[in-house]
Symmetry: C2
């Protein structure tokens, strides 16, 4: 069993209105030194099959097909350190 984490973030240059709104809300709460906020998504995925090499390939396929919109989003896959 492998517990992987996939992080999906907007590519640089893509507008992020949600991040902008959070920026404004933080400033309104008194956090004056917040420069920029970008919001992304994180998926914690449990894979039953335990082979890390195959896992990375399968997770990439999941990102390409469903989890990320690769036109505007980047994804990063984090696997637990091999034992």
């Amino acid at each position: 069993m492998i517990e992987a984490r996939v992080t999906v973030t907007l590519k640089t240059g893509v507008l992020d209105p949600q991040g902008k709104a959070i920026e404004g809300a933080l400033a309104a709460l008194g956090f004056a030194d917040v420069g920029a906020v970008r919001q992304g998504k994180v998926f914690d995925i449990v894979l039953e099959d335990g082979d890390p090499q195959a896992a990375r390939a399968r997770l990439e396929a999941m990102c390409e097909k469903l989890l990320a919109n690769t036109v505007i989003e980047d994804y990063a896959i984090t696997l637990p350190p091999a034992r």
Copy 2:
């Protein structure tokens, strides 16, 4: 300037219908070995002030006040390694 990452995830035991839907969609796409999926949020925050100690405290305050619903969500703060 500090680029911090805040990851907000649902606490264990809290139902995650969005994660369940992704689980179903991945299974329908042929990813048969997906055991469980939980979705969370990630915030990439740029702080203008460069003191890492103060940064962590301020980021915790941001999570408590705005970024996370601490009744049902956990948050984790990742700061870049000190130089």
